[in-house]
Symmetry: C2
Subunit: 686 residues, 2 copies
């Protein structure tokens, strides 16, 4: 911006006006500001840097720089087991925080686990198992301080649906369980592999919007599933879509429902929601909604035990196998038909689990402002699930609700996970009998009150406001899950996300630039209506790298701009266009197809006078003649000019000899300079 130039610029001005006046006379580029050509990088370095940016963008080896060998080794071990580094600085103050947080999330997770296990069509104890081993593994390997590990609603549902489409859990529970472990194993392998290969960025391809929609839909689905337990319905559809669920609910209305169950459920649901409300109202009472579930479990269990309501058809948990996780190494399918199925399911479940965990990790990391190495996290989560699959756990990950509680309860480190896991251990060892009379209705209500938070309508509204396309993705995923199934919803989410990426790379934006009054700044005339076009010069900015995926479009779009412009010019007899200027600042890269496109653009500009004669259907004969005249007049004048190509682009323009073809003197540092070259008069009186 000239106004910032200060005194020095003024002398510069005079100097340059002078230079320009002679330069533009025999069309050379002003002597200052040649467009820089970066020093040629050697191939290996180039390759190296690309790889680094792609896979080691977060520069994980930063701390290893110039360290002694032994130190490096230590750092390496610390990198795998972060507990060793933060453990050293651990103290009582922190322990206090972790203890409170750990106990709180434990009280929250135990009832949830039992319920979630049902979502995965597994016996309740497997939910608890998955809250015992995985958190321990994560505590030593993970680097997030706030994430709370365990089974989560969405993954449980997803796993449940995917598994039961292969094996019927009622008819064949053993094989079903074995497949579950197999899937868990491969989920872990997937996660760890992504981490080790530093492919963590792959999960970024599921857009935030899509996730919001997917989560919301899953939450609704899960809540609907709970109607079974909540209304005490005996036979319930296997499908998860809203229609068949509502059908089987209503069809069983007059005989299938159990009023006692409903009463218990309703009462405690009201209680839980009220507790939530209090927690929201005043964050000092965050612990109220946190312990409410456990309380309601205790109360309801007591109530059922005393009234023997189970005799009146109130379904209860009955038996939870006590004792800690048995080994399940031998149960995993490493051969046979189920290997492939388990593998497929594992990948899907693993990716979703990863998405959830990563989202949580990032959120809290940025709230407390510490760095998280996404790939390291994945390795930790992967290892955790692999070990889990050996110890009768199903896919565990970070839970939104529990992590939030963990954070609010003032957790300091992953120790809170250890505390939780100890509590779960004690529960498994000694307290399982107490759950015998726990009514399923309670678990249903707990799950319902847990998942409703996942319906993030506020986010949806914001998405609608910010980006309509994102909103489509969001709704697509949502309705996909609700009306079809979890997989369909997921599929929609992923494909819409990809569609967006493809759209982005196929149809880059272009803009006509104008001069902002009393400055030498050129901006999009749509954004700055006050900006004035330069007579005789059409300035087009291409807003993307020019790659094979869009090169052809870019070329044709530019030609279309030109055509429109010319018709405009023709209509109101303005100065005919002599220069087509392409502002390349945003064009960060260009490939062979892109170069070809530029060459074609260049050539067809030279051939423009042919153009008109061959499209009689579009313009009337009269115009035709006018055009031809105007073209004869301006033929050989219409020139292509480039402004501010970036380092890579200018380099490639040279290696491909396009720069030579176009003429070095047609490439400028700024639009202003280019304009000065095209129409010197203009520059004098802006």
């Amino acid at each position: 911006m000239s106004s910032m130039g200060g005194s020095a610029d003024e002398n510069l001005e005079t100097k340059e006006t002078h230079v320009r006046s002679l330069s533009s006379s025999h069309g050379q580029e002003p002597y200052v500001h040649k467009v820089g050509i970066p020093p040629r990088q050697n191939l290996f370095r180039e390759f190296q840097s690309t790889v680094k940016e792609t896979f080691f963008a977060d520069d994980p080896l930063r701390s290893f720089k110039d360290q002694t060998k032994s130190r490096k080794l230590i750092l390496g071990i610390e990198a795998i087991f972060p507990i060793l580094s933060w453990g050293r600085t651990y103290n009582l103050a922190k322990l206090r925080g972790d203890l409170i947080a750990g106990l709180t999330i434990a009280s929250l997770c135990i009832p949830q686990d039992i319920g979630y296990a049902k979502l995965a069509n597994l016996d309740p104890e497997y939910g608890l198992y998955s809250s015992f081993v995985p958190p321990l593994i994560y505590a030593v390997m993970g680097s997030s301080r706030d994430i709370a590990i365990g089974p989560v609603a969405v993954v449980s549902l997803l796993l449940g649906t995917l598994l039961q489409s292969e094996i019927d859990p009622i008819a064949n529970p053993i094989d079903y369980r074995r497949l579950a472990f197999t899937a868990t194993f491969f989920a872990g392998i997937t996660q760890a592999t992504l981490g080790v290969l530093r492919l963590g960025f792959l999960i970024d391809f599921l857009s935030h919007a899509a996730i919001v929609g997917f989560m919301g839909g899953a939450a609704i689905t899960i809540a609907l599933q709970q109607l079974k337990g909540f209304l005490g319905i005996q036979k319930f559809t296997k499908k998860t879509d809203v229609i068949s669920v509502m059908y089987s609910v209503l069809s069983s209305a007059h005989h299938g429902w159990n009023w006692q169950t409903i009463v218990i459920g309703a009462v405690f649901l009201a209680f839980l929601l009220f507790a939530k409300y209090i927690g929201k109202k005043n964050t000092r009472f965050f612990w109220v909604p946190a312990i409410a579930p456990l309380i309601s479990v205790i109360l309801s269990t007591l109530f059922v035990y005393l009234t023997r309501a189970d005799k009146h058809g109130v379904a209860i948990v009955k038996h939870i196998k006590s004792g800690i996780n048995p080994s399940s190494v031998k149960e995993i399918y490493f051969t046979g038909d189920y290997l492939g199925k388990g593998f497929r399911i594992g990948i899907v479940a693993g990716m979703i689990a990863l998405t959830e965990a990563t989202a949580i990790g990032r959120t809290f990391a940025s709230m407390k402002d510490y760095q998280l190495d996404g790939n390291k996290e994945m390795v930790a989560l992967g290892a955790m699930n692999v070990v889990g699959s050996f110890t009768s756990c199903y896919v565990a990950t970070g839970s939104f609700s529990r992590s939030a509680v963990n954070y609010m309860a003032g957790c300091e480190t992953a120790v809170s996970n250890i505390v939780m896991s100890v509590v779960v251990f004690l529960t498994l060892e000694f307290l399982t009998p107490l759950f015998e009379y726990t009514p399923n209705a309670i678990l249903a209500t707990i799950i319902i009150s847990a998942v409703i938070n996942l319906v993030d309508y506020k986010a949806a509204i914001l998405i609608w406001k910010i980006d309509k396309f994102d909103f489509v993705a969001c709704m697509g995923a949502f309705f996909g899950v609700v009306f079809a199934s979890v997989e369909i919803g997921l599929l929609i989410a992923v494909s819409i996300s990809f569609a967006k990426i493809l759209l982005q790379v196929t149809r880059p934006r272009t803009a006509i630039l104008g001069k902002i009054p009393r400055t030498t700044v050129y901006r999009n005339i749509q954004q700055y209506p006050e900006a004035t076009r330069v007579p005789g010069v059409l300035i087009i900015r291409v807003d993307s790298a020019i790659y094979f995926s869009n090169s052809n479009y870019v070329k044709e779009r530019i030609l279309r701009w030109l055509m429109d412009e010319e018709e405009q010019v023709k209509v109101d007899y303005q100065t005919r266009i002599q220069f087509l200027m392409v502002e390349m600042s945003p064009v960060t890269d260009i490939d062979t197809s892109g170069i070809h496109a530029l060459e074609e653009l260049f050539r067809s500009l030279q051939k423009r006078d042919v153009q008109v004669i061959i499209k009689p259907s579009t313009v009337t004969i009269l115009n035709d003649i006018m055009w031809q005249i105007s073209y004869q007049r301006k033929h050989n004048f219409e020139q292509l000019v480039l402004a501010n190509p970036g380092p890579i682009v200018i380099d490639k323009l040279h290696t491909s000899n396009f720069a030579a073809l176009l003429g070095e003197d047609k490439i400028f540092l700024t639009v202003a300079e280019a304009v000065a070259y095209c129409s010197p008069k203009l520059a004098e009186d802006p």
Copy 2:
């Protein structure tokens, strides 16, 4: 660029220096150049324009604008049958050109067709059939004037390999043929559908580089296949990879080869190559290589007929069924197991055929500078193949070699295709018996000399020079085809192309900007080493739209730049960084994830002083203390500043309230202005 400002700017300067001096004192934005917020578009219009840009980028309805109903109808019909529009202006002069061109390509295509049919494991007549009907259809529906329609080497090979992996052509010729027609039918449907749905841009996802590699590989493979005919080998491998081919060639060396065949082949290959050479040497003799194949066919046939060389083991064509295409409507599988297979093969073959045709169409269109509607072309090609599949033709498309000859022979319109098709018709009716004694060796040599042009090593070299990644794609496809198979090569080509796109959208470039001496232009300091950084201000340019796929990376990358910079500053005690400026000119769009990323960036800047204390392993205690001090000093000073957000971005920054969060006065039109705000002193003395 200040230098262009001229006198007007000077008064502006004084005015602004004044404004700034007071603005920077109580940190407000200079009163001029507010960042423009474009007028809110209504939703429908927005959606409409997006759709238009995506599917009607080439504005096909342009000519329909403000026309009468009847005119529109006519234009519509003309759009489907372009012959109606160019037919009206057709004249004898054009006919002359077309006649010559048509006869030339006919003489070229007849021997090629017979050979290509072999590549597709079909009887010779099917090659001729495919040069009779499809050209006629294309002539009335197509809009390219130079493309020559018929069977082509690569597609024939591809179809052959794909089909014989399903059905053995020798054991079960009838079913094989039926599947071929089915595939052709679906190839046509695929092409037409893409055109009608205006999804033509999908083929742009196969990058130029990948195509070069694929074509080259296919050419080599085809040439190797010809060794069978060329050496007169009886039993030849079915595989197409170089290793197994060479093995079966060499293994049959001492008994399987037939010297008479080799002699004939060698002689005529020499002749053909010499003809090619002449054609290259002097374009006036382009017709020499064009008619050479037919001549060699005639001569060799005569020779064999006279010498009865077929008695000495020279394999000959024997019988070509005479008469024109029989109907094959009933032969297409519309039901059963083969339907799916035909469908799959059809899609692949159709896409490749499309790619070749489109490439040719575009090339010649830009050489003669006329517009081609890619989607309309696809409809034409699709219709042509569908009709073809009903009339015993297999997939036809535009041929590189024949189109080039057509162009050089001075074709004016698609009439040259009609001429060719008439000649082929006559051949089928009356001349097929003459081919009885044609030695297969000749067909082999003709194919070899035809396909060697497809090995475009010059392009490969250019690709290597321009874009290394493209080169990898190119070589990947090439070696994939040569050493594995056509499908594998294709798969590699497509996946590498996609990998590139994903890389592009996941890892956008960022650059540190510096001030170019004696100007107010800020540019990438890598490209312009003379550019000087602004003390106390870190200016980072993000070179891409910020989407979910890269938002997280962008955020972390910026923070990393900042960290590096701070360590630098720390080392050589420069002015500490007070401002992080993000130049957003190239950021053409931002979605919800992008906004989140910016918010996180903003927050973590506010929390920077925490940052240091929690990473003791990286900096020594001493530094730690230094840092903390420096941070205490600069805490609350480090600010985020944005320069030149585009129309969509600024709009979204406002709707998402991030602009408010950041502070309107932190968003500037240009970097220069932002810098002036950040360090007013600096602006005075550049």
